[in-house]
């Protein structure tokens, strides 16, 4: 007799959603979370906020305590890599040739604590890039197959959006459906650019002329709930009931207040995080969550391939030198951690080795900043990090030669690009000798005009971009550290350059003075055809255990069920065969909900 119907590894968004879906069907679920539950109460969640304010370096993981027992990578870890000398400064062991610059968070709620909340659908042609463009692989399902799950995903996460604004490149919505909440208003900057680029066309690779347009970004951030009823994934739903903060502060975060810190932390939880879904799941009384439980091994019956149990190390407090090894059993098992952690654990347990794809095809969006000064104040440093983008370069026949990109507008000036406004103050006081009213006026005059555009290219799957493990490198609990090999190919670089060219053309039209500087000494500096730029990570870690139609070239079937281990599912962004130009969480959520639906009949012995 098993302890649980399902044992889930990872207390982030995927694990929480599956726990919610399974417990709604009366199944008993255990979630094992490697990290601590520091944000689980209002008091401790607030401590994240305090830590953020006191931390002089404000990066995505700044609010969250470093946990030596379940370390997280941070974007500050990145150092130089040379052949034979991997960068081991942080949690990752980076073999290069280029650094993988993204992070994630190992804590209850996972990386959704510091995500931006962007919820873009993929475009129909994104699902078949091999047949359309000879790039990447085709998905085992189409846009239309996934559409009902997209609808459910948008309602699970609480997405604010406008259908009409997002119908491009074949993306379509059912007429009986709408986003659960009205769109988040576009920022003043968005509308200023939108007006400025009206009627503007650019010449793309291959010669096509393309008009530029601006689209508001659908986002899992509370705005005003729609009062109507709709058909969502085939079921009637609505009016929508938005979820604010967890615990006794449910009144907070019912609507975004413009804290302008979605990354790294929404102080009022108006932005979706997995703690909300965990709370909903736990209300059933059927879901147990054990934190500070690092899964060490998934055990297999060699005869049948079935998973027989999970061994985890329970540590008493972060940094504790000892742990207790515990074994737990379930009917089914779900690896629901970050793409890199899922691959690491599956590799360490000797799972899913048949296709040779496990750990491979690691993808991200190598993200490039372009920034400048607008001729007029544009209201920087107000509102959610990004509220709109230019989708115009996300699809087209050029994709056979050049990667598609999304051009994302940033509402926080040069904060990401140049650590504004800190760097502005330091420069004006230390170097320019400004003080008094002159300093005030100069700051207003400069910072109010700061514009930044982020270029987000598709990165195609490569067998050489991969996660492995090596007994030589272990963490403090003796668990393997992810060893990463990563590169950015010419296809993505060409797409980035096309994005840079279009952005600069737009700058000229809008009268924005280009201030972009890419330091050749930066570890993310790369070039193509003599033109260099610096890429960052987007935190969109994907692709290490892709779904597919055939056990030879994929790790699981379309529902995330392992080809080789009948009662094992691998879910999360790792499941994605390609990453397209959309932030992956919404597509991942749709896949997770589809996977959860396939677990119910399996648990009832029907499949």
């Amino acid at each position: 007799m098993s302890d649980y119907d399902a044992v889930i590894v990872g207390g982030g968004i995927s694990g929480a959603l599956i726990a919610k879906r399974l417990s709604a069907e009366g199944k008993r679920v255990l979630i094992l979370e490697a990290g601590a539950d520091d944000g689980d109460t209002p008091e401790t969640y607030r401590a994240y906020h305090t830590a953020y304010q006191l931390n002089p370096i404000k990066v995505p993981n700044s609010p969250y305590p470093q946990n030596p027992s379940a370390p997280s990578p941070t974007v500050l870890d990145i150092g130089p890599i040379s052949p034979g000398a991997p960068d081991q400064a942080g949690y990752f062991v980076q073999k290069g040739p280029l650094p993988f610059r993204s992070d994630y968070l190992r804590a209850l709620g996972g990386t959704t604590l510091h995500w931006l909340g962007t919820c873009l659908r993929m475009q129909p042609r994104d699902f078949r890039t091999a047949s359309e463009f000879g790039k990447g692989v085709d998905w085992p399902l189409s846009y239309d197959d996934l559409a009902p799950w997209y609808e459910q995903a948008e309602w699970e996460l609480g997405v604010s959006g406008d259908k009409a604004d997002n119908e491009f490149f074949g993306i379509h919505f059912s007429s009986a459906y709408d986003f659960p909440m009205e769109p988040i208003p576009k920022s003043h900057l968005d509308r200023w650019i939108e007006t400025g680029v009206q009627g503007m066309s650019v010449r793309l690779a291959g010669g096509e002329k393309r008009a530029l347009s601006v689209a508001g970004t659908p986002v899992a951030r509370n705005s005003v709930p729609r009062r109507e009823t709709y058909t969502v994934g085939g079921e009637p739903a609505g009016p929508y009931d938005s979820a604010g903060a967890t615990g006794p502060y449910a009144f907070q975060g019912q609507r975004c207040e413009g804290n302008s810190s979605c990354i790294p932390l929404c102080p009022i939880q108006a932005k979706y995080n997995a703690l909300k879904t965990l709370e909903q799941a736990r209300r059933t009384g059927l879901v147990d969550v054990i934190t500070q439980a690092v899964v060490s091994k998934v055990e297999t019956d060699p005869a049948t391939g079935r998973i027989t149990g999970i061994l985890y190390k329970k540590y008493a407090f972060p940094g504790a030198p000892v742990w207790e090894m515990t074994r737990v059993e379930g009917q089914i098992y779900v690896l629901a951690a970050n793409a890199i952690e899922n691959a690491k654990l599956a590799l360490a347990s000797g799972l899913c080795s048949g296709s040779g794809q496990l750990g491979r095809n690691l993808m991200d969006h190598p993200y490039v900043n372009v920034w400048g000064l607008a001729p007029v104040p544009i209201g920087s440093f107000r509102g959610p990090g990004s509220t709109a983008s230019i989708p115009s370069l996300r699809d087209g026949d050029f994709r056979s030669a050049v990667a598609p990109v999304r051009l994302e507008f940033d509402n926080w000036g040069w904060n990401f690009a140049a650590n504004a406004p800190y760097s502005d103050v330091t420069r004006m006081v230390e170097d320019e000798g400004l003080f008094g009213p002159a300093l005030r006026h100069r700051l207003r005059e400069r910072v109010q005009r700061q514009v930044r555009i982020g270029i987000m290219p598709e990165q195609t799957p490569s067998r050489h971009n991969r996660v492995t493990i090596d007994p030589a490198w272990r963490d403090s609990l003796g668990e393997p550290r992810p060893v990463i090999e990563y590169d950015v190919d010419d296809y993505s670089r060409a797409g980035i350059l096309q994005g840079i060219d279009v952005t600069l053309e737009m700058f000229r039209r809008l009268g924005i003075e280009n201030h972009t500087e890419w330091n050749p000494e930066d570890p993310g500096y790369v070039s193509l055809g003599g033109r260099g730029f610096v890429y960052f990570g987007a935190g969109h870690n994907a692709g290490t255990h892709r779904i597919g139609t055939c056990p030879k070239d994929s790790v699981t079937g379309v529902d995330g069920r392992s080809w080789e281990h009948d009662n094992l599912w691998l879910v999360g962004c790792g499941a994605m065969p390609t990453i397209a130009t959309s932030n992956p969480t919404l597509t991942m959520t749709a896949l997770v909900l589809k996977a959860a639906a396939s677990m119910i009949p399996a648990l009832e012995g029907k499949t």
């Binding site: 207040e257 440093f381 107000r382 207003r444 109010q448």
Partner: protein, 155 residues
């Protein structure tokens, strides 16, 4: 160095009036920080220069005096620049090595954000017409409004 003296010199250096500085709630905390690093003699000089500057009319005469008597001074200059950054960013910028060689090392003279409040009350956010990232939100949809009007004279 008392709160009033500290407020006077701070107002001249930051461009914010005394009420605005007190309204941050950070004035006593910042005075203690500056006093601890400067020591009594230098703190007294700083305040005296503040009063001298306040007595001058706003404009080029005051600017010239500030540059000569404060910013060009090897002891007062670094202190004044750190004081401005303390008010604007809520964090202390340590004194340069030659200053420390002359005036001695103080244990308070390390780079740090003084408190969550000092982060939130950094004048830079008001100066740029915004609000601190992650605090003092402006309300739903505020980001869609016109950019703020230029800074006002007094506060």
């Amino acid at each position: 160095m008392d709160d009033d003296g500290f407020a006077t010199v701070s107002a001249i250096l930051t461009g914010y009036d005394g009420a605005a500085l007190r309204a941050t709630g950070c004035l006593p905390e910042y005075r203690r920080q500056v006093a601890a690093v400067a020591g009594p003699a230098l703190a007294a000089r700083m305040v005296a220069e503040g009063h001298a500057l306040a007595a001058l009319p706003d404009g080029s005469a005051r600017d010239a005096h500030a540059r000569e008597a404060v910013f060009a001074d090897p002891d007062l200059g670094p202190l004044a620049r750190s004081l401005i950054q303390l008010w604007y960013l809520g964090q202390w910028v340590p004194m340069p090595p030659d200053w420390v060689a002359r005036n001695g090392a103080q244990r308070e003279d390390v780079a740090h954000i003084l408190s969550p409040r000092s982060y939130r009350e950094g004048l830079v956010w008001d100066a740029i017409g915004a609000h601190p990232l992650g605090a003092k939100p402006q309300g739903f949809g505020a980001w869609a409004q016109e950019p703020p009007a230029g800074p006002e004279g007094g506060s």
